[in-house]
Symmetry: C2
């Protein structure tokens, strides 16, 4: 039994939640905000969410969690069977997280948390996100899934991240950079959201966002 | 047979090179600077190095490469056999790369490439690197290796990254932030460098750095 800790407004939380659902792994959710208390830090070294509790202990960092779930629960694989194709999935995930999501993340303070990004930050992020999305367009086949004919771990990662990046860029720049760089992305998002488990994640996220913004 | 593309001044290149050597995988090196030509982009979607050529095609993003090497060449494993312990290795790697190395990387333009980081960037990086290193100190056991009694993939990653982060922070802030936050790190670096393969990587890196700086 796995416990997932975090908040449903987090795209990294939703990445893990969708993986758990798609792999049919029994789990429970514990609502927990990121924080610097010892209670959180002893389980997640930077106080970040998501993290999970496993029968052997706690584990943080979403990609480490995703790999663990695939390792420990091989029955319903999300990775392809071939080592090179698994490599291509991991290349895709690293790319979308390092070169797109973590770049755009520097806007979230302003978009979600009432902060203010400097013009220097906005200019730097714009250039880097466009470079990252140009690279992403090279990798993403949309045929019809992110990396081919089968739903895979690449979709589990792309779906929550690209939605938030798209939203943040629209808020800051007034442009949907994701759609500009990746034609067909709207149909792709619809395809993923035709899956019952994605609908569950989406519904829970909407409720969490509503609660979050009504508190502000 | 694997071909490794990139430059030996790159800590990510040296991460992969040390993994190849420690796993006794036959490989050759092709000197290649990162770039935006179609010849590079068709093999590495952002034009970044390192990337490798495998019998099945090209693969970029260093952590995807490392996982591929472990997957495709299981004979000399660098990851522990237990799924949870493998998870802890991946948590460590994600943490050191996302929360330490990629933060400090924003200084490299000034430290290595003749650019200039703004005071805003330096202040932001300082705060975030200190947070990241505080978290790293929670994870790194130095007993005597990064995560325990055995040399593992955690060491393959920690060694090249921490040296460069330490160097960059000393150049910009006049402080060895790595040593301040992680007591015992000097002895750890010495321990890794007692390994013949690490010495090979280190020697090649020194030659590449000398060539790089003499051209400037």
């Amino acid at each position: 039994m796995i416990t997932l800790y975090g908040v449903a407004i987090s795209n990294y939380y939703n990445k893990i939640k969708l993986a758990l659902l798609e792999k049919n792994i029994p789990f429970s959710e514990e609502l927990l905000a990121p924080g610097q208390s010892e209670a959180v830090l002893s389980r997640s070294p930077l106080g970040k969410i998501p993290f999970i509790k496993t029968p052997d202990g706690y584990l943080s960092e979403s990609q480490a969690i995703l790999e663990y779930l695939e390792d420990a629960f091989p029955e319903t694989p999300l990775y392809p069977a071939d080592a090179y194709q698994r490599g291509k999935c991991r290349e895709f995930i690293q790319h979308i997280e390092l070169n797109v999501e973590l770049i755009a993340r520097r806007l979230y303070g302003e978009v979600l948390f009432g902060g203010k990004a400097s013009q220097e930050t906005k200019d730097e992020v714009l250039a880097k996100v466009e470079t990252g999305l140009t690279g992403l367009a090279r990798l993403m086949t949309l045929s019809p899934y992110a990396l081919g004919e089968q739903f895979s771990v690449a979709d589990v990662v792309a779906w929550p991240h690209l939605q938030l990046v798209s939203f943040a860029c629209q808020q800051i720049y007034g442009r949907d950079l994701v759609a500009e760089h990746i034609p067909g992305i709207a149909e792709y998002i619809q395809l993923i959201e035709s899956r019952p488990h994605a609908q569950t994640v989406s519904t829970d996220r909407a409720a969490a966002l509503e609660a979050f913004f009504s508190k502000k």
